[in-house]
Structures are given as C-alpha cells and as structure tokens.
C-alpha cells in the first residue's frame, strides 16, 4: 500500500522525522518496504502566464514566447504546439532542474535568446495518462486560477514522500489512507481527524425513485448502496487529484472514475460507477452468474461466467463481475449523462475464487477478497458524492438506496488482563491495556462480573482473546517484552537414531572424498527414456503435478539416478574431471495412480563417481567402507543386469535377503543420452534400509588366546567364476576353523589357458580353545581344496 505522507497528514497530525516514523510503524506491525522521496530534484520551476506568442524568424517549428513570471517577463523559445496566449504554464528558469535531474540554462536558438523552458508533464515527473491528449505530447497547461510567480512544486504538491507499507492479509482496513492514519494515531497517541461530510444533493429527484436494487445472492453480498448523479460532465480530474492517484500507483482516467478510485484509496471501500442510462429497467440485481452467460469486461475481454461467480446484472444481463471488474457496456464514457454509483460489500472468498478463476486482479478485488466492513459503504458513497459536487462533476440525487438485510454489529470479546499478561509474559497494568485498545477504537465495557472489549466492525480480524493479546502486544511494543525461556516440564533434546546414522553416512562419504549435492525433487518425464527405462517399469509410475512450472519439472522423481547424471554432466562441462558426489533424498512411490492417498516417501542415497583412475571397484569399496562403518556384515554383491548399467559391470547389493540397491558402470547408451564422454559409476542405495540394518549394538568378544595359522592356495578356474562364490565355498567347506579368507591375486596370462584365471587366497585358521596342530590345519585345508576342485572344476596350482 503506497501512502503519500501529505495525504496522510490530512487525517493525522504527524510531524516526526521520516526515519523514526517508518521505524515506529514497522515495529507496530505495518512493515515499511520502501520510501520514495518525490520531486526533490525539481528546482526553480515557476508558474507563468503566456503574454505573447510569435513565430521564430529563422525556424519554422519554433515559437518565441513572452512569459510573465510574476515579478518580471522572460523570453522563451519553444517547439510546443499546444499553447496559446493567456495560458498558464510551468516555466523552468535559468539554472532550474527538472525531473530526472536535468539542468536547464539560458541558451540561444538560431539567434534568439531563450531564458528558460516551458515544461511538459513528464518533465515535472507527472504521469500524463489522465490529461487531455494535446498535453500528453506538449506543455502542461495549468488551470486559469493557478498563481503566477509561485513555485510549481508547492502548487502541484510535487514534493512528497511516498511510503510503501506491507499490509498483511488480515488487515484490509489498512489498505487505505484513513486506515494508516488510524494506525499512526494509535502509535503516536494522536487524534484521528475524521471529516464531516455534508452533501448539497442539488438534484430534485429522490434516488429511491430512480432505480431498483435487489440482492438475490444474500450469502455473497451483505450490503448494496446506490446513489444517483445527474447532469454529469465527464472531463479530466483536477491535477491535485491526478497527482495523488499517481502517487498511489493508480492511473487517472476521468473525473468520475478518478473520484471512485480516490475514495477507495482514502477509505478502503471500492466503488463502481455505472452509466445509469445503459441499465435496462434502471435496476440492479446482485446474483450468481449463469453457466452460459458471458460478459465483456472493461479491458475488452469476453469472460465466461459461472454459477459460483457473483455478478451485478440489470433486468436482462450481467453488467459487472461484482468486486472484480466492470462491464464494457455500462462503462462511464464521455457521453455519460447520469450515473449509478455502487458502494457495496461482497463476500471475500467468492471474490477471491472469481478473480483467481478469471486471472483478473484489481485494486478492488484485492480489497474485497480480504473481507471488508459493510458499515463503511454509506460513508464511502457520501464521500464520493461530496467530491463530485466539489468538482462540479454532476448533481447528486437526494438520499440513497440501501439494501442491507442483516446488519453487522460489533463483536464482544471477554477482556481478561491477567490472561493477556500471562500470554505475553508481561506485567502491563490494566489501565495501559485499556488505553492501547481505545486508541485502536476498541472500547471496554464492564459489568460487575466481566469486562468486554467491543470490536469495531472494520476490525473483522479480531475474533478471539489471542487477537487482543496481539493488539496490546504490538502497540505496547514487542521490543519491550522480556527475553525468557520456557519454564516447567523438562524435555530432553535429541536426534533420532536414524538422524544420527544419516549424519554418519554423510560423514563417511565426505571423508572418502564425495561431496554432497541437492537436486530438485521434480524432474522431467523424459528422464525415464534417458536412462533406458523399459515401458513396463514401475519407475515410470511417477506422480504428476497439476500445475508444474514446466514440463522439465512436472513429475516427482522415482529414482535419483537421472539427477546424479545431470550433475555429473554439469561438472564435466565445467571442465572438472575428478567427480565424487552423493545425494540423500526422497523418491516418491505412489501406491496407485491417480493419487488417492499419500505416497511412500523412500529416502535414497545416490553416489556418483567419474574420473581418470576410477573404476567400479572404487565405488564398491566406498560402499563396503560405508557398510562396515554402519556395522552391517551380512551383505552380498551379486552380478546383475539393469537397464541403466553396463551389462557386465553392475551388481545388486543384498542384505539378509533385502535389496539394498544397485551399483555399476552407467550403460554407454545412457551416457550417450546424457552427452557424456567419460565413464560414470553410480550407486543408488535404500537409505531407509541402510539405517534399519545398521547395528548400534556393540558386543565385545574375547580376544584370541591361541595362535593362528596361515595357508595359501591358488586354483585355476574359468574366467567368469565369481570370486565371491569361491570365498563362500571356502568358508563353507572350512567351517568354524576358518577365521578369514583374503583374495590376494588374480592372474590371467601366459601360463594360464585362455578363458581361465588363476585366483589365489590366503586363509587364516584359528581355534578358540587350542593351538591348532599342522595335522588339524592340513585336514581342513585339504578338504577345502578338494571341495573347490569339485565345485568349480578347477585345477589346483602348487
């Protein structure tokens, strides 16, 4: 809400320094978002009367003008086309500064002296939108009574401070100059000046005889007031009014429209003016729209109406979308002679829905949708008529038509000063509380048993005791509240075990050189093709957003792999070659589509690796270190086929029969889809399972008391026999005497037949209860050898 300080001062006598003022209003709840000082740069621009206009002797397009500037006459050369003798105009004198900081000095144009410049509206920082067309492209012509010789800044109120207040949605009453003046008065303990409105009502007719108002949709319209004005003269509004509208960010249009906007800005009540003669049957019906009805709005767009929209209709058809925008047909035009002025109250939620549905937001709709006070309708209508009379824009008919089926009365809230102090943690005396409330126009009514706060109807936001607590707290000053800590029951601060384990996982990975990434939870539906996902894969059952920002961010991810590939690719493009990354984040798995209940949010861990000396085994080692740190022992890596991975370089990781995840080298086709020229290794693990399987129980087992005995063995087997299988057989055949098996060599080459490999292990044997003899060890070792030969069709090497 833009508030010009000069306008505000008409309602409250505020004289504080601007910095203090903005600070105090901010601290009482009206946050200041900006301050703009207007007209400060404009200097030495004076009001002058054109005495004489002559053609420039040597230039067709220039005029030589004699201007009376009060004490003297000066000569100005101008290219203007819209001036005539006796016009009153702004003149920038020698040494003047105009809007934008441009300096004006005396000059000579084709041999003729010019001692200044006649100014256009733009050169004074004015919006020329509401001015006659000739002035829009020419010099600003001032009214005949403008005082010659005076500074234009004072006359046009050019120097002003406009404060931008952030008004929270609960305070529509503050979307007005009077509302902000009321806040200012409460904060500064000043009196709000409310003007008395006296109307002349010069027209003989009674409004009641001129029109008929019906409210059909009583749930959506609480009150409808209409006034009738005849002998209307449509012209530009006076400069002072245009200036104020502009300061508030509203474009001037014509006197009638400007008056309705002016009153809306001043009092917070939107008004609408209809061309009375365009209303069929001179009647207004407030009703719901028909599903097949259409209306052309002021902006020239045809809008489809529906039964959940509130419309203003005449006898035949809708003439406005209530509270949102008027219709083109009944719009005020230069030929309008009589008007019907609407000051009504429409239900907020309906206005909000309608304006959303139509994508139409206006100054009026943003006020109505927050809920306005029906009790200000009459005052606003009167104020507008007062201005119409003052500007000579028309004659107001006597009285008004007021349909107000159910009067809204002030609300009563129990006032308990001790409860208020208990909520704030303060000891504010009751008298101070009452003083604060009264400054906000909230009266206290006491009965012998209870005290009540009587809430004015323009404060619909105050409905409960908590709201009184806020009013008292904010005017008393949050900065005066003590800083304490909650007393009473003790609670223990803690992280859940799962959160601690998640921290551990991140710690292990960063220690191993992996950096953490954060990527968007929504992805493009195209990612499934990019990672070669088969058509029937459940991964493709991704949850779709109804209103995504774009196709690229339209489905909730079901895998972290595409995001990881994106980030690896991004970094490769940044000429970073050694890439180690990880991400922990959710994937979103629907039980059913379309979504009927909340999906399963499954936390995953993705690890990505790319670089010169990296390979599958580095990533595998990373995972095994992680598993070891989490004390997970019962896991296996199983050769696996997965569409996104290299068919021979991918493993599935199992823990006790549950799938932990997958690790491998990304399939060359997928790399191609992502335009990647380097090999990329990715793992995706189930974080939830990882955390579930992590062991936090630590049990000590006695240190070995008897010595161990080591034996090596090497066996030649077919190349594709997995080492993991051989180790499993060694352990199985060896039984409990085998303490550990270590693979120390794999050899393929000259001495080994093609398609075969020699694989060598060192086995450590130990018994818990005795020193093993050579015979003991030999027996087991031989058993292992025999079993291996049988199982794998292998040849032992000696």
């Amino acid at each position: 809400m833009l508030v010009p300080l000069n306008w505000l001062k008409e309602y409250v006598n505020i004289n504080d320094e601007i910095r203090n003022f903005t600070e105090r209003l901010t601290m009482s709840g009206s946050n200041v978002e900006g301050v703009e000082e207007l007209g400060k740069d404009i200097k030495k621009v004076i009001i002058g009367r054109i005495e004489k206009i002559e053609k420039h002797p040597d230039a067709d397009k220039l005029l030589v003008v004699q201007v009376n500037i009060g004490k003297k006459r000066i000569q100005v050369v101008t290219g203007a086309t819209n001036i005539k003798e006796k016009d009153i105009v702004p003149v920038a004198l020698d040494g003047a500064v105009i809007h934008g900081g441009k300096k004006i000095t005396s000059a000579v144009f084709r041999g003729i002296d010019s001692e200044g410049m006649l100014c256009s509206p733009e050169e004074l920082g004015l919006d020329d939108h509401g001015l006659p067309e000739d002035m829009q492209n020419g010099i600003l012509i001032l009214p005949p009574d403008a005082p010659v010789g005076k500074d234009i800044k004072d006359y046009l109120n050019l120097e002003d401070t406009v404060i931008d207040f952030e008004i929270t949605p609960n305070r529509p009453d503050c979307l007005s100059i009077v509302g902000m003046a009321r806040e200012t008065a409460a904060v500064y303990k000043l009196t709000l000046k409310t003007p008395s409105i006296i109307l002349k009502e010069e027209a003989e007719e009674n409004a009641k005889d001129l029109a008929h108002i019906t409210i059909e949709a009583r749930d959506l319209c609480k009150r409808y007031i209409a006034r009738i004005i005849k002998d209307v003269r449509i012209e530009p509004s006076p400069l002072w009014m245009q200036r104020r509208l502009q300061e508030c960010g509203v474009r001037p249009i014509n006197n009638i429209v400007d008056i309705t906007n002016y009153v809306m800005l001043e009092l917070g009540q939107p008004l609408h003016a209809f061309d009375y003669d365009k209303l069929q049957g001179h009647s207004i019906i407030v009703r719901r729209g028909g599903d097949s009805e259409k209306i052309v709005t002021l902006d020239g767009v045809t809008r489809d109406l529906s039964s959940d929209m509130l419309v203003i209709a005449d006898k035949n058809k809708p003439i406005a979308i209530a509270g949102v925008m008027g219709g083109e047909e009944s719009e005020i035009s230069p030929s309008t002679k009589r008007i019907l002025l609407e000051s009504a109250n429409f239900a907020g939620p309906s206005i909000r829905r309608t304006s959303r549905k139509l994508g139409l937001r206006s100054e009026a709709s943003t006020r109505f949708e927050k809920g306005l006070d029906p009790n200000i309708c009459a005052m606003a209508a009167d104020r507008a008529c007062q201005l119409i009379e003052a500007l000579g824009a028309g004659k107001v008919a006597k009285g008004y038509i007021d349909v107000y089926p159910e009067k809204v009365n002030p609300r009563k809230i129990v006032f308990r000063p001790d409860r208020i102090n208990r909520a704030l943690g303060t000891k504010i005396p009751e008298s101070e509380m009452i003083d604060i409330l009264e400054r906000l126009e909230i009266k206290i009514q006491k009965t012998p048993e209870t005290a009540f706060a009587i809430i004015p109807t323009f404060r619909a936001d105050i409905a409960k005791e908590a709201d009184l607590v806020e009013e008292i707290g904010r005017i008393y000053g949050y900065d005066r509240l003590p800083a304490t800590l909650p007393q009473g029951d003790v609670t223990r601060g803690k992280l859940q075990t799962s959160q601690k384990l998640a921290d551990t996982i991140k710690q292990v990975l960063t220690d191993l050189g992996y950096s953490e990434i954060y990527t968007y939870s929504f992805v493009s539906p195209g990612v499934f093709d990019r990672i070669n996902t088969p058509n029937d894969s459940p991964l493709r059952s991704a949850i779709k957003l109804m209103n995504p920002l774009g196709e690229e961010q339209s489905v909730m991810r079901t895998t972290l792999i595409p995001n990881m590939l994106d980030v690896v690719g991004y970094n490769l493009n940044q000429k970073i070659e050694e890439i180690r990354l990880f991400e922990t984040g959710s994937v979103y798995i629907p039980q059913k589509l379309p979504l009927m209940e909340l999906p399963y949010e499954n936390k995953k861990l993705a690890i990505g690796l790319s670089g010169k000396h990296t390979d599958f085994y580095e990533l595998k080692k990373t995972i095994e270190i992680l598993l070891a740190r989490l004390r997970i022992k019962q896991y296996t890596f199983i050769q696996y086929q997965h569409f996104a991975f290299h068919p021979g370089r991918c493993a599935r990781i199992m823990i006790d029969g549950d799938e932990l995840g997958i690790v491998g080298e990304i399939h060359p086709d997928v790399l191609e889809n992502y335009d990647l020229n380097a090999k990329v290794y990715i793992a995706q693990l189930d974080m939830d399972l990882l955390i579930k399987k992590a062991s936090t129980d630590i049990k000590f087992s006695a240190l070995p008391r008897f010595p161990a005995s080591d034996r090596d063995l090497a066996i030649i087997v077919e190349e594709k026999v997995p080492a993991g299988d051989i180790i499993k057989v060694i352990k199985g055949a060896g039984g409990e005497l085998v303490e550990s098996v270590e693979l120390f060599d794999i050899y393929k080459g000259d001495q080994i037949k093609k398609g075969f490999k020699s694989i060598a292990f060192s086995i450590t044997y130990r018994a818990k209860d005795r020193t093993l003899t050579d015979e003991d060890v030999n027996e087991v070792h031989n058993r292992i050898k025999v079993t291996l030969v049988e199982e794998f069709n292998g040849i032992l090497r000696e």
């Binding site: 601290m27 009482s28 709840g29 946050n31 949605p169 609960n170 305070r171 939620p349 909000r352 208990r422 909520a423 704030l424 943690g425 409960k464 005791e465 908590a466 607590v469 806020e470 707290g473 904010r474 949050y478 900065d479 509240l481 003590p482 800083a483 304490t484 800590l485 007393q487 029951d489 003790v490 609670t491 223990r492 601060g493 992280l495 859940q496 991140k506 220690d511 191993l512 050189g513 950096s515 953490e516 954060y518 968007y520 939870s521 949850i543 957003l545 109804m546 209103n547 920002l549 980030v567 991004y570 940044q574 970073i576 180690r580 990354l581 979103y588 979504l595 909340l598 999906p599 949010e601």
Partner: protein, 338 residues
C-alpha cells in the same frame, strides 16, 4: 713382562683408534681381550714370575684390561652413534611436497541445518520429520488457513490433486506431531518445501525450512523471544542484535518476524538490508487457539509457540552467497568451499 703389557696396551689403543666399524671392533676385542687373546697369552707367563713380582704385574694387567674394556665400549658407542647418524642422513625427505587431498564436502544447506539442529537440541528440542507430499488439511486447513483464505495467495502451491499437494511449509509437521502426542512438546522439523515460484537469484520452487514448536502450560511470547534470541546469537554471533516485529500468519496469534542487524553493514543501512539496517530471518508466533483446538488441545490449559525459518536464506546470509541457484546447480567448485 711389564713392558710386554704396556706395549700390548699401546698397540691395542692404536688399532682401536683406526677401527672404522663394529665388525673390526669386535675382531680387535677378541684379538686382545678374548679368551684366547693376546692379553691372556701374556698372562700365561705369570707362572714364571717371582712371588714378589706377581702382585704388581697382576695389578697392572688388571688395570690394562679394565682400561681397554672401557676404551672398547666407548668406541662401540661412538661407532653406533655414527652409524645411526649416517642412516638418518640417508633417510632425508622433502617435507614441502604438497599432499594430494581428496576430501568431500557437505552441502552448505546441510551444514546450516546441522548447526540449527545442534542449537535447538541443546535447548531441549527433539528433531522430527514429516512427509513432503501432504494433504491440504495438514498444510492449510488444520493450520487455520481454510480454502479461499487470503493468506493462501502468499504461498503459490503445487497441487497433485485437489486435496494432495507439495507442502509449502514445514508447519504441517506441527499438526502431525500434536495429533500423535501430548504436551509438553519441544520439536524442530527440518525439511524440503515447495512453492511455485520461477527460479531466480532469490527464488526457487524448492527450498528448505526448519519448523519449531513448543507446547506446554504457561508458555509466553517472552519465552518465544528469549528462545529465538539465543538462536540468533548462536547462529550469527554473540554481538548480533535482533528484533521482534509484528507480522501475520494464520496459524499464530500474536505473530512476529525476527530481524537481525544487517550482516554487511551492522545496522548502518546498505543495499543488502534495503537501507533499513535489518534483515528478516524468520517468522514466528504463539500457536493460534484454533490450531490447538484442531488437534484436540484445550487452549485454556495449554499454549505454545512456533517458528519457521528458511535454510537457504540463513545460508546466504551466513556464507555471503548472493544467488540461490548455486545451491541446486551443484558445481563442485562451489561445493568445495564448504
């Protein structure tokens, strides 16, 4: 015989002086002092001496033996010392060769989140989580924000169905926790939130918040202020000033925003703080009685406060990051700075 002994000593000492290593030294020891060594050989001649001479020669021989033994041990120590020095000299390395470090980095948002968790766990808060895909009821309705409430405008929401959405705030975790548990409660809930804002330097359709909730008997607005002042000082330094400014949220009443003195200008006024000297860091307030009623609590008996803060905003302020997009671009040159 006396002369023989003296000569032996002289010869032994000469040899000793020339010996260069421990092997030579051992050989010499055996040669002169060993069981079959020269000294023993000479002393065999003792038998031929007169009884008068025997004691003096015996004494001399002992003295010479002791002297030589001492000299030999002395020389042994010297040689060993010398050897050690030579070995150490050979083992010289260039300690200025730089190490090759491969160290990963936690994401700045994780670091900030961890810091926040640590502060509040220290104040007795428990860390809880809730779903990102939420029911409209938990994200809005239960938080005193019915459909068509004007406050819904501030948060442009991604919808999945009419009733299911991407949460716009971590506040629904308040409701879920209160529904499940009885007061007293002190929880914080970190997590991802979503709003349909187009991406620019200060907006992102996905960002992170931490929600805080305290419920008990006689919790006051002053307690809220005290708690958050501790947080602001822990997070931004002990001399950081903070202020509480009235604001509006549908689910708290009274509501406030907290500002801290500007990190760049310390309150003087600059571009970053829009010349106000203050930076907004969080929203908070006393839990609205309607919210308490929605979860079956009696607002006459219990009350509490809630707060919510944006992790990205705090990270940007604390690390002097000027563009929100950096958090989700994941450039390693960015990540490695944390």
């Amino acid at each position: 015989m006396r002369e023989e002994l003296i000569l032996l000593k002289q010869r032994a000492l000469q040899n000793l002086a020339q010996s260069q290593n421990l092997d030579d030294l051992n050989e010499l020891r055996v040669k002169f002092l060993g069981k079959k060594g020269e000294l023993t050989q000479i002393l065999r001649g003792m038998a031929g001496l007169s009884p008068e001479e025997r004691p003096t020669i015996g004494k001399l021989a002992n003295e010479i033996k002791e002297d030589l033994e001492r000299e030999f041990s002395q020389k042994t120590i010297e040689l060993k010392q010398q050897l050690k020095s030579q070995k150490l000299e050979k083992e010289w390395i260039d300690v200025t060769i730089p190490s090759k470090i491969v160290l990963g980095h936690k994401h700045p948002l994780t670091l900030i989140m961890d810091e926040i968790k640590e502060i509040f766990v220290g104040l007795g808060y428990e860390v809880v989580e809730g779903p990102e895909i939420e029911l409209d009821y938990y994200n809005f309705e239960a938080l005193n924000t019915p459909k068509d409430h004007p406050a819904r405008d501030i948060q442009d929401t991604f919808y999945i169905t009419d009733e299911i959405l991407l949460r716009t705030q971590t506040s629904p975790v308040q409701i879920r926790t209160m529904e499940k548990r009885k007061p007293p409660l002190k929880i914080i809930a970190p997590g991802r939130v979503y709003r349909s804002d187009a991406v620019d330097a200060t907006h992102s359709p996905m960002f992170h918040q931490v929600e805080g909730l305290t419920i008990g008997e006689d919790i006051t607005m002053s307690d809220l202020k005290g708690t958050l002042e501790i947080f602001a000082r822990e997070m931004f330094g002990q001399d950081r000033k903070s202020r509480f400014r009235p604001h509006y949220f549908p689910f708290t009443e009274p509501s406030a925003e907290m500002d801290i003195s500007c990190i760049a200008c310390h309150g003087e006024g600059c571009r970053i703080c829009k010349y106000t000297g203050w930076l907004e860091i969080l929203g908070c307030g006393m839990v609205h009685p309607n919210v308490l009623e929605n979860v079956g609590y009696d607002p006459e008996r219990v009350n509490g406060f809630a707060f919510g803060l944006g992790i990205e905003r705090i990270a940007m302020l604390k690390y002097d990051i000027n563009d929100m997009r950096l958090f989700f671009e994941n450039n390693l040159r960015f990540l490695e700075q944390f």
